[in-house]
């Protein structure tokens, strides 16, 4: 496990580089080299969505995605979603709707919701459930999350 390599990528809009072990996952590298903790490992098997990271515009399970494969890619994490004071409408909606309890699953749900609304600005309840079915929330905040997706959809439409 000692093989290493050098990777360069764009991290939340800025150029980034790291010396990584070829066995390391994207979550390992974001956490250990960049102190980004929003994507977090839970199941480690691609089943819960807590480790969601957006690579080249596509949501991936950061716990399974080898960091080496991010070489040359554009990587976006929850921390890049609202770098300033102003939150993304999806984040605002999650707060307003109380769409989390412990918050461990929340970055994954927020990123997936943003992707969903980018693809489908006014999803039906069934489409929401389908799109978010790969994300788990043990606190069971699902009804509030569905509500937050709707509220976020309205916020994005009204530009606020």
């Amino acid at each position: 496990m000692s093989a290493t390599r050098h990777i360069r990528f764009t991290l939340n809009g800025r150029p980034a580089a790291a010396e990584i072990g070829t066995h390391e996952t994207l979550v390992d590298v974001l956490r250990d080299r960049f102190a980004l903790f929003g994507a977090r490992e839970s199941c480690g098997q691609g089943l819960c969505g807590c480790c969601t990271v957006v690579v080249d515009g596509r949501a991936v399970s950061g716990c399974l995605f080898l960091a080496a494969a991010a070489d040359g890619a554009r990587v976006d994490t929850i921390e890049g979603l609202a770098p300033g004071e102003r939150l993304d409408p999806v984040q605002e909606a999650f707060i307003e709707c109380g769409a989390f309890q412990c918050g461990f699953c929340t970055p994954g749900f927020v990123l997936m919701t943003k992707q969903l609304l980018d693809e489908n600005p006014e999803p039906s309840e069934d489409e929401i459930k389908h799109y978010l079915s790969g994300n788990l929330c043990r606190c069971g905040a699902y009804p509030e999350i569905i509500e937050a997706v709707r509220v976020a959809s309205r916020k994005r439409k009204s530009g606020g």
Binding site: A35, C50, K129
Partner: protein, 756 residues
């Protein structure tokens, strides 16, 4: 003690104070912790359920480049002379010594700077065992020749366990008995006698932030960072293990990524403490998801319940025998056995009650508290039983409940008179919401519909203590120091609201300092829905104390009473500059009377009662056994909510969790192995598993002794879910399931066997 909220801070649906940190991924969890020079530990675990350890060969692991050290139990003894821990019994070794007692028991640990290296090396450890026969069932454990612990070692903290000291040849870790009236003549003269047995399965909390603890040694002190619901207990227990005074052990927590009763007492804390002392370096252990299944589970149970009933539907006697499968180490199981034993006969007014509740050791992973402290297992049985009696007597199940319901002013099985327990209201609101008695679509063809209700109740854990400090700084800003752990239930927000209500300031302006035993005062633990009531009262008193001190300072400075001089000005007048503090303190210990050892009776079993009911409307596919939940209604008495919105999410979240335990979750064991320790095979509820509709309601109620009329809510919505659904299935297709989970296979098999 209850004062109605006037400042408008209590009763407000304030979004969680930490909302921004959580949606931006910046919330602080122990999971994120990095310490300079830190080593990562990986645990090597037993693959047999019961056996003598013949040999543990760690040489190959030691040789792996990057491995710092490998330790077994002998090494632990170099720093902890008697390495056995536990809240009720000192029965659990930090690493297995001589014997392993369950699958997945920690046997050795590898330390390395790189966690991947530690994991690789741990795979190279070889252990050989002389396998022993294992005992796995709770009823079987009562009489089995297989004994899990040679000698019982009660911790001494609980007086009712003292008599078990030194006992040999038994798997019984506690027997609780309650005798009220006399059941014998009541059964002998009864018009009808009903007896049924119900079972629940092993399940696991599955917090998405798996167990994680770190320890950092410093000159004669040790700091433990841990995702724990009980930082005060951790300090006391680690200090005991090390024979150190409490003030040399510091325990800090952060937000927890879920707890649900899993992260209580000692889990990894004793291990990381020993490892840090052995290596003189910070050590962190983060469990992988699969390891959680070997760490703590929910008690599987068997419950035999028998009732004597008159022909007009009055229950005159009830006999309850409950066996709790506590696994290989007692954890808090004996407390689950006793406390839930108080209410095993259900929320009914029954003159003659006999309850026997047994905590058993078995060779299964340990079982502890899980959101309800045994109550969901009991309600599952007694509310299924209640419906079965009603149906057999051809009495409407709601009407049957109304005839027997235990109401305020009447003594409960322990003899404690019910107070502020809205059993009637909860049932009424359920019935109204579900439209009981009104015709509804019963489905057609192979799709059949049915409805069911269930009501359960719980005594709070007692006696327990909470303390709080309210600190006002010289610029008038303030902070609340309390050891309640916010694991998602919203306690930071609720406590800030309570303090803010007293001081008449916006709750958003109250900073809540997270548990740190060097800073925040003692709190028994965040468990059993106790915090809102216990810590809420302590916080209220601390804030009131601060308010009184403000008034005293005004008087000291010659200001007229009620003067509205701004706080910064008050401090400047006192100290001549921006300096000083006003510190309010508060603590709360409710009254409680231990039950009599022989009769289980007590005039004061609990500081408050929690009441929760569920109503379910289901659709059963008779060709596949598949059950769709069309509607799930949760109604609860939680006193007067501090934060109605958060309370609702607690009800809804608790019900969804219990829905998992009802419909799908089950740890599958075969040939001593756990087959599904992974989210791939152990399915917790996802978006697709939600009921078509879920509704929650807190009935209008007041807990007189609670802070601003409030009491706990975290567990309430778990009570009624399982039996309400089983009752609805029976209503739909006439089959009765007596074992959880209610899988399509179980429903289908029951249908094949034939309904009523």
């Amino acid at each position: 003690m209850s004062a109605t909220a006037k400042a408008g801070q209590v009763g407000r649906s304030l979004p969680r104070l930490e909302g921004r940190a959580k949606v931006t991924g910046r919330a602080d969890y122990i999971h994120n912790l990095r310490l300079p020079g830190m080593l990562h530990g990986k645990i090597f675990r037993s693959v047999v359920a019961h056996g003598r350890i013949r040999r543990v060969d760690v040489e190959a692991a030691r040789q792996v480049p990057g491995v710092y050290a490998v330790f077994v139990s002998d090494d632990i003894r170099r720093v902890i002379a008697n390495p056995y821990y536990g809240p009720a019994f000192h029965d659990q070794p930090i690493l297995a010594e001589g014997k392993v007692r369950h699958i997945g028991e920690p046997v050795a640990v590898v330390l390395a700077e790189d966690p991947h290296v530690a994991e690789e090396a741990a795979r190279l450890i070889v252990a050989e065992y002389d396998e022993l026969p294992a005992v796995t069932g709770e009823v079987e454990a009562m009489t089995s020749n297989v004994i899990v612990h040679d000698v019982l070692k009660p911790a001494g903290t609980f007086p009712d366990l003292k008599h078990l000291e030194g006992r040999k040849g038994t798997n019984l870790a506690l027997d609780f008995h309650l005798r009220r009236g006399d059941v014998k003549p009541a059964f002998a003269t009864a018009d009808h006698v009903f007896e049924h047995t119900f079972r629940t399965q092993p399940v696991m909390h599955t917090p998405l932030e798996p167990f994680v603890s770190a320890a950092e040694p410093c000159d004669g002190t040790l700091t433990i960072y841990t995702a724990s619901q009980s930082p005060s207990f951790v300090r006391i227990e680690i200090a005991r293990l090390l024979s150190w005074p409490e003030n040399r052990v510091r325990v800090k927590t952060a937000f927890l990524g879920g707890g649900f009763g899993a992260k209580l007492y000692i889990k990894l804390e004793a291990l990381v403490a020993a490892l840090a002392l052995l290596t003189h370096r910070p050590v962190k252990i983060s469990l992988a998801m699969d390891e959680q299944f070997f760490t703590i589970t929910k008690h599987p149970s068997t419950f035999r319940i028998k009732s004597a009933v008159t022909k007009d539907g009055r229950i005159t006697a009830r006999e309850c025998e409950v066996w709790w499968n506590g696994g290989a180490y007692a954890d808090i199981g004996p407390r689950v056995t006793q406390k839930s034993g108080f209410t095993a006969a259900g929320p009914y007014d029954i003159d003659n009650v006999a309850i026997d509740s047994y905590a058993l050791y078995t060779n299964r992973p340990p079982a502890g508290a899980l959101r309800g402290f045994g109550i969901p297992q009991l309600v599952w049985a007694y509310e299924s039983h209640t419906d079965m009696i009603a149906r057999a007597l051809d009495i409407d199940p709601v009407e049957f409940r109304r005839r027997n319901l235990l109401r305020d002013g009447r003594p409960q099985a322990t003899g404690t008179v019910m107070q502020d327990a809205a059993t009637g209201k909860v049932l009424d609101r359920l019935v109204e919401r579900i439209g009981w008695g009104r015709p509804f679509d019963r489905g057609q063809g192979t799709i059949k519909r049915g409805r069911g209700v269930a009501v359960g109740f719980k005594a709070s854990i007692a006696p327990t203590t909470s303390g709080a400090i309210f600190n006002i700084y010289a610029d008038g800003s303030c902070a609340l120091y309390c050891s309640t752990v916010d694991m998602g239930q919203g306690s930071d927000t609720a406590m800030a609201q309570i303090a803010a209500e007293v001081l008449d300031v916006p709750a958003e302006s109250v900073r809540v300092v997270h548990p740190d035993t060097d800073v925040t005062p003692y709190d028994m633990a965040t468990l059993g829905s106790r915090s809102t009531y216990h810590m809420g009262n302590a916080v209220k008193r601390a804030a009131e104390d601060a308010r009184a001190k403000i008034e005293a300072l005004k008087a000291e400075l010659g200001l007229p009473p009620g003067s509205n001089i701004p706080l910064p000005e008050l401090f400047r007048r006192k100290y001549g500059m921006q300096a000083g503090n006003i510190v309010g303190i508060g603590s709360f210990v409710p009254s409680y009377a231990s039950p009599d050892h022989d009769t289980g009776l007590t005039p004061n079993a609990t500081p408050f009662w929690m009441v929760g009911g569920a109503g379910a409307e289901v659709e059963v596919d008779t060709e596949t056994g598949h059950v769709r939940i069309m509607r799930l209604i949760n109604v609860a008495d939680l006193g007067t909510p501090i934060n109605p919105r958060i309370v609702e999410t607690q009800l809804s979240g608790g019900a969804i969790m219990q829905l998992g335990f009802t419909m799908q979750e089950c740890m599958e064991f075969a040939d001593g192995q756990l087959l599904n320790p992974s989210l791939a095979d152990y399915k917790i509820p996802g978006m697709r598993d939600l009921p078509a509709r879920i509704e929650n309601e807190a009935v209008a109620a007041v807990q007189q002794s609670g802070p601003f009329g409030a009491k706990g809510v975290g567990e309430t919505a778990t009570f009624g879910v399982s039996p309400a659904i089983a009752n609805a299935i029976d209503d739909a297709v006439g089959v009765r399931l007596r074992e959880l989970p209610l899988t399509p296979e179980a429903v289908y098999r029951a249908l094949v066997k034939g309904g009523r």
